[in-house]
Symmetry: C2
Subunit: 371 residues, 2 copies
């Protein structure tokens, strides 16, 4: 053990935009004995993970697997497999991760329209409907839980608008899954990805992913090979599905143990209970901010329970507050990104951390730092 | 803990093509407390890993970082960043991983020549020299340790031939690093990647990577954006280098703890000792195969110490032997791939497993299964 690992602080509360603190069950899983990527026991775990993703995301999609990279690799896989050069893509943008989708799709030669909404406000379904009246798209993408602003985009309402457009419907729920309801089949979502290090309480490194039969059809009918060997789902399915599993790349075995354990923790508690716990922690935080004279940046009704953007008060050195919380109180919180840098703090209450006692520890520390 | 994880076998000896058994120090590291990806303590670990990669690969390359994916993501990153559509690429092919390089580069629009050598034999430097007399390339790629065949390609000799060609020199040493000497600067290697699950004794999931100043120059002068946001090194460097670290994607924190510990284990033992230990284990195996009437598939002088291809004798059901080893003796070995399917077994003696007592356990089990 190196001196750095030996002296790693073990009491940092991770209340930033993720990673959140890893669940104890997940730490235990990560250290389980490595098996071969074609071992029959490991294949049972792969199958179990597919079932867990289907259960938590409420989908019958056959193609429900973890991508071997972080949430951003999930985004990359979601676009590179289902978009070909010249395809018309609409991205609904109200934060960093919508912006990132635009960048990913443009790099792959798509013709991208970005429908922009003010950061900190939600995507407005009526404006999307209007856009669709005069434009046809092959794919429409949106972020469920915009981690950069704390906004929850209204997925069911957007789904209703997008349903008959003919476009594939792509949803990023890196921060939503395990803290907000996700209903892929009800909402008609065709392509979906998440991340492990938010509400699932697992370290970063994998992206739970799912694609509908319609999306798979598009993949099968591509005119060109997927220009990304590592993330090519048409080959990956031969490793993740069927009686005979064909080697593609060596799966990240121990991280997959961690994800399997993390999904089990969530499903054992039950989705309804997990969602209620995140909501309760959020409300506990909101109630505690008022006495400190602090406001949330996002309008009520569109706030994410697991990512709370607090407006930095005039005259307060926001970076100094974050530093004092980390150094004196062992609490990490997040800064604003892009146009929101310096304007908000981002407080994650994700997974294991969505508990009132965690909120109390944070509020007490914040009170001391601000006083 | 799920029943699957609870009952995971803990005595499987991983003597296939990788993953190898994870080192105990690495298991301990994987379970260390997750920190934020911008935490000052975590940034110290990132810097330490960069130094470890430089030390083990004998390079001063500034850009020496782990890629957030398995070895195949390292291959993808090595090509997508440094090859633009229309670039002329030469791949020296004598196995699955050279073939994979061709596929990756073609998908990205490169004009690829594959110089083919029989599987199980090494790349011949004179033939490469001949090819270079009448052709100019932007990049030349080769696999150091061809895991699919057990062949060690003669890197120093190839380096001498490629040196003045003007091409960037790309080397895959997924299976070599930590078991064979790797001398990036001496050999004039411009782009290099490895994997964690072979001789480093860490679970799969990361790809140690390094690029020379010449390669970085090519990256900086690209005419087009890298068509892969997740692996775009021109952005990744802003997270891995400099005083102010800019968020790109959330690094796989706990896997990086594992890699840091794994590299430390190797460097503490010392590269010379590690290489000698792999060679001794290999020789111990070869000596033990002879009494069993078994031969190695690769000619002496070009055999990989860490990946031993054994010719399956006439009339032996190779799959049944593998199954019996796994089920009755708890030993995993590898099958042949592609044209070598059914013709060879692949015996990995990697990292922690490159020890005479491990070889003895394998030989004893093999003797029983074959008798």
């Amino acid at each position: 053990m190196t001196s750095l690992l030996h002296s790693l602080p073990d009491d940092i509360l991770l209340l930033g935009p993720g990673p959140s603190n890893t669940h104890p069950e997940v730490y235990a899983a990560l250290g389980k004995p490595t098996l071969g990527h074609l071992d029959p026991v490991f294949i049972e775990i792969m199958d179990a993970i597919k079932g867990q993703i289907q259960e938590l995301a409420h989908t019958d999609n056959e193609l429900s697997i973890p991508i071997s990279g972080t949430g951003s690799a999930g985004m990359e896989a979601s676009i590179v497999n289902f978009v070909e050069p010249g395809d018309r893509v609409l991205i609904l943008v109200n934060g960093v991760f919508g912006t990132r989708m635009v960048d990913v799709a443009q790099r792959l030669g798509a013709e991208v329209d970005a429908l922009e909404f003010e950061w900190g406000t939600p995507v407005i379904p009526d404006q999307v409907a209007e856009q669709l009246m005069s434009n046809r798209y092959d794919l429409i993408g949106v972020v469920h839980a915009e981690t950069s602003t704390g906004v929850r985009n209204p997925l069911p309402e957007l789904a209703a608008v997008i349903k008959d457009s003919g476009a594939l419907f792509l949803v990023d729920s890196v921060t939503g899954l395990g803290g907000l309801p996700v209903r892929l089949d009800d909402w008609g979502v065709d392509i979906f990805y998440s991340g492990t290090q938010k509400c699932l309480g697992c370290p970063p490194g994998l992206a739970p992913f799912s694609a509908s039969a319609r999306a798979v059809e598009k993949l099968k009918n591509r005119k060109t090979k997927v220009p990304n060997w590592y993330l090519d789902l048409s080959m990956l399915v031969n490793y993740w599905e069927g009686a005979k599993r064909a080697y593609h790349h060596t799966a990240p075995i121990n991280m997959l143990y961690g994800l399997h354990a993390a999904l089990d923790v969530v499903l054992q508690e039950g989705e309804e209970a997990v969602v209620a716990r995140h909501q309760a922690a959020h409300e506990h935080l909101v109630a505690g901010l008022d006495p400190l004279g602090l406001d949330l940046f996002v309008e009520e009704g569109y706030r994410l329970p697991m990512l709370n953007a607090i407006t930095v008060p005039e005259g307060v050195d926001e970076a100094a507050v974050r530093k004092a919380l980390r150094m004196d109180h062992h609490i990490e919180i997040g800064a604003g990104l892009g146009p929101l840098a310096g304007k908000i703090w981002r407080i994650g209450l994700m997974g294991h951390n969505a508990r009132p006692e965690v909120v109390d520890r944070f509020l007490e520390a914040l009170r001391k730092v601000l006083s």
